[in-house]
């Protein structure tokens, strides 16, 4: 192996009183300990083996705490985040751990080839199923608008729900979906990070898996992931194509929940997680947003989508449905709603307000699916 011939530009010799690096709590090993804690008189340190040569090891060493280690073990922070501390050292040791040189540096000055990739967790089982990260030039930790957080959470939830319905084939069911498919999309939020805004979802919790679909939930999640990966691949390239391929209305509606909004502080949405093969990270920018919107307009024009007017009556909160009636009191349509639109539609019913309702007619079924609702023009 070649010797360690790299060093951050502004690294300065230092001494933190460690004579040897002897692992105490080994957090990850592969051909020996790779990430572990070391206890010393000056406190607890987290050590990460970042490089190895013929005669020495090089470690990233940072002060740590039991709380940080617990968060790392629980999948609440990534390996990189556990190392991203105000004080960072590189320590070279011999092959049995005896310290030879200590330099003070910053994590950002260390070549990324020698650090964990930013999104990787301590163990493979801790990897979130799905991570949605919103980024924007105006976003910073402590100043992320609530609307951004809502978009990330609602977008991920809505996309997962749509995917679950596609896989289960329950799109034609009226109103509130059967409880069993909630397992597939009402995933527990594993972590939330605020430097940009990121929400990560884990696997369905054990308690939820008492339901009928527990046995094949893994297979269904995998099918959902294939559909989502396919959709995101389309979005990645569609913006640059004059006539992108037709991926169908369902996939476009999934994408519509995830792409950056046309206005707002979010410039980019990054999507990653165990859902995807080869640990791919998909980045959606406003070019993707425009491509999705254009394709949606085209697809909805083809599908049996129309706009109706009337006032919502006989609102059923259990079935998430209402009867749309015209000014003369005649029934216009029996409408079914998604959970995301339910509160909004209820307001029209409750306040007796006439609405313009965009609906999709599903062949041979009387209830129509509500895609959007807005005030009717006076």
């Amino acid at each position: 192996m070649p010797e360690l011939n790299w060093m951050p530009e502004h690294a300065a010799d230092d001494d933190i009183g460690l004579e040897s690096i002897v692992p105490e709590d080994v957090l990850y090993e592969y051909d020996g300990p790779r990430l572990f804690t070391v206890a010393s008189d000056s406190g607890l340190y987290l050590c990460y083996l970042c490089d190895a040569g013929d005669t020495r090891f090089r470690f990233v060493v940072v002060p740590t705490s039991e709380k940080i280690v617990a968060r790392l073990k629980d999948g609440l922070i990534t390996a990189y985040e556990s190392l991203d501390q105000p004080r960072v050292w590189l320590i070279d040791t011999g092959l049995s751990g005896e310290v030879e040189r200590t330099v003070r540096t910053n994590l950002i000055e260390i070549d990324q080839r020698f650090l964990p990739k930013p999104t990787v967790m301590l163990h493979p089982d801790l990897e979130p199923v799905l991570t949605v990260k919103l980024q924007g030039q105006q976003m910073r930790a402590g100043a992320v608008p609530a609307s951004v957080m809502k978009r990330a959470i609602d977008g991920a939830y809505g996309a997962l729900k749509k995917l679950a319905e596609m896989v289960e084939g329950v799109q034609e069911a009226a109103g509130r979906p059967v409880r069993s498919i909630r397992t597939l999309y009402d995933l527990p939020a594993q972590r939330v990070a605020f430097a940009s805004f990121e929400v990560a979802f884990g696997l369905p919790e054990a308690a939820q898996q008492e339901l009928a679909i527990r046995e094949d939930a893994a297979a269904k999640l995998q099918r959902m992931s294939i559909i989502l990966a396919d959709s995101l691949e389309w979005a990645r390239t569609a913006g640059g194509q004059a006539q992108p391929a037709d991926i169908g209305l369902d996939k476009l509606e999934v994408l519509d929940k995830l792409v950056p909004l046309r206005d707002g502080v979010t410039d980019l949405v990054q999507i990653s997680g165990r859902f995807f093969p080869k640990r791919s990270i998909y980045t959606l920018d406003r070019t993707a947003s425009l491509a999705v919107k254009a394709a949606l307009l085209k697809a909805r024009a083809r599908d049996d989508v129309e706009t109706l007017e009337g006032t919502p009556r006989e609102f059923d909160k259990d079935k998430l449905s209402f009867i749309l009636r015209n000014d003369g009191g005649a029934d216009v349509a029996h409408c079914v709603l998604s959970e995301e639109l339910a509160d909004e539609a209820y307001e029209y019913y409750h306040n007796n307000v006439k609405a313009k309702v965009v609906v999709r007619r599903v062949k041979d079924r009387k209830p129509v699916e509500v895609l959007g609702i807005s005030p009717a023009e006076a």
Binding site: Y28, R34, A52, F114, V120, P124, E127
Partner: protein, 129 residues
């Protein structure tokens, strides 16, 4: 061609190594490697590299392997300096012994028989980092 030579481990290993509860190697095993196809340098144990003297002597003689591609990709992404590639072998009893070690279900140690030609056994996996 049939090879009836007894399967032995390299000389110099400690007594009772591999441990008695290590099973015959069977199934896919993955290594993170520096090149594709891999080279001999990708299959040197800690003992061969003179690393971690004083640690568990028997485990130092084995090689860490993962049992799924996902676990191997995770290892590669957590430890980029190990190499940007993943190699896969279809392990069989005549190649060596295998045991889950280290208390983490994804980590296994593979003790290769002296006769196992590891460079020939492992092949690169498509779509590496």
């Amino acid at each position: 061609m049939t090879n009836n030579a007894p399967l032995t481990f390299p000389k110099g290993w400690p007594a009772e190594c591999p441990p008695v509860d290590a099973a015959d190697a069977e199934g896919d095993i993955y290594r993170v490697v520096k090149s594709t196809p891999p080279t001999d340098g990708d299959f040197l144990s800690q003992a061969q590299l003179n690393q971690a003297v004083g640690a568990d002597e028997c485990r130092r003689c084995g090689l860490s392997v993962l049992r799924t591609l996902r676990d191997a990709e995770h290892c590669r992404d957590l430890n980029p300096h190990l190499g940007g590639f993943i190699a896969l072998a279809a392990a069989r009893p005549e190649h060596g012994k295998l045991k889950q070690t280290g208390g983490k279900k994804f980590h296994h140690t593979f003790w290769a028989y002296h006769s196992a030609q590891l460079v020939a056994l492992f092949r690169g996996v498509d779509g590496d980092a």
